[in-house]
């Protein structure tokens, strides 16, 4: 096999592209710009840590099925862990979002990073909402019967039936978590590729 042939391989091209965009010292940096010095930066990693706990506790709930936690004190405690990790997740994520807004973190070619963050936020809201729908208790009954009117009014209720517990459970434990994690990974990779946005400066110039 010639060198030219190897150079033309999709695998070779992909490896070179990835290595060029995201070399190891960018993916796992050991230094950071000195301006990255504020408590607000803690909330990004806190969000990811909370997401990890949310998924771990959700997996524990999945071990015994969606109704286990009603009749087991251990199950109820795991449900409590799942609930509070979700609350921490959203608390951290919202502060992270507002912090990034006031940094205008989309500057310098980081618009896609911002947009993936917003879409992750919206996807997470849908994931949490479906969780409330498949608790199989009064909250599920009330929230689903109230929510149906809003979703039906858009036409989406014909395909995404919030009264169908089985459908909502599958969205909650499979589709939406996959989407949320994939978006989070993409978001973090974009942060590593572009770096953390620098502070505002007065009258700088850029060239093209």
């Amino acid at each position: 096999m010639s060198t030219t042939e190897i150079d033309r391989q999709w695998t070779t091209r992909l490896r070179r592209r990835v290595a060029g965009k995201l070399p190891p010292d960018k993916l796992l940096p050991d230094t950071q710009p000195t301006y990255v010095s504020s408590w607000i930066y803690v909330f990004g990693v806190t969000t990811m840590a909370a997401l990890t706990v949310v998924i771990a506790t959700g997996c524990l709930l999945a071990l015994r099925g969606p109704q286990w936690w009603h009749g087991s004190s251990v199950g109820h405690f795991v449900n409590s862990l799942h609930l509070w990790s979700v609350e921490i997740f959203f608390f951290a994520m919202v502060i992270h979002l507002w912090g990034k807004y006031f940094m205008a973190a989309w500057r310098g070619g980081r618009a896609l990073t911002w947009m993936t963050g917003v879409v992750t936020f919206l996807t997470s809201i849908a994931a949490a909402f479906t969780g409330y729908l498949c608790q199989t208790n009064f909250d599920s009954q009330w929230i689903s019967t109230q929510a149906k009117d809003g979703i039906n009014a858009t036409g989406a209720g014909a395909f995404w039936n919030v009264l169908n517990m089985g459908q909502m459970l599958m969205w909650h434990i499979v589709l939406l978590p996959i989407a949320a994690v994939a978006l989070t990974v993409l978001h973090v990779l974009l942060v590593r590729v572009k770096g953390v946005v620098p502070p505002f400066e007065e009258r700088p110039k850029v060239s093209s």
Partner: protein, 315 residues
Amino acid sequence: MKTKSFRPDVDAPDWKGGHSPYDIVKEGVIALVVVSLLTVLLAVVFGSPDEPALTIKGWSNSDPMDFAATALSELNGTSGTAQYGAPYNKAATGQQLGPLTLAKWVGARIPINTVTDFIIDPLKSVTDQPILTSDLGEWAMASTSTRSQWVSAYTKAANHMTIVNGQLVVPTANDGPVPLMMSDLLQMARLGALDQALVTQKGFYTTDFTLPLLFLADGTYMSNIAQKQHLTGDQWGMMNETGNYPGQAWLWLYTFWYQVAPFNSSGNGDVLVWGLMMLLSAGLAFTPFIPGLRSIPRLTRVYRLIWREHYRDMQ
């Protein structure tokens, strides 16, 4: 090479300052440990709510009059579900977003006939009741106009409906098999058989609770309980959950619109709120490209709090 003007809300200068040590792995591990401990602490201290699900059996025993009135509304077509429109039926146009009738366009893709699905089919599942079987046969053989006359007569007589010793008592009228059907439906509900009949119409295995939930929602039993739990729409609705828990606080903006005009009084309130939230969500996602919105961070100078050490060092 030409130089273009610097756009402070779009462009960012290259960082030419210093760097400091940063252990990203250590930071992640510490965050995970802290969040895990905080989660355990909150779970131990506060737990989580678990109000048992309502059943039609519980409803029909606790408030048989409300159940009977709701069942009658399913029969005579005056219930919320019977008059809903898409995706359940074609009884109404549904909500409109300006000229757009989105739900109607999609159509009745989850077809529900309240007479068949809530009354007749469940009663058909009852066995060893020859009188009921005979009455259901009479109903099936009757013309549409005859059925309407029976239901109208029964509806009129039901103004004086009472429950005596758990039995539905309605003054005599020219209403054919309807009194026995409704009486047997109440007995079926009180024994718990209707809960099962509503979820097993498509077979043994089921995860779809559309029918019993719509039936429950058509009555006032569930909404009265929700009212006591501060869960109704004018009480910031579904962002709350039972008990003193934060619920879905992140839905505050969505729920907020339901508290104010014109959304809280419009017949199209739901679709208006959804339309507005879609617009706001798109605005948030496309903030980097929206002049004015993307300038707020620079103009408010909140960033000086975030990067105060950097600006102090610059001075």
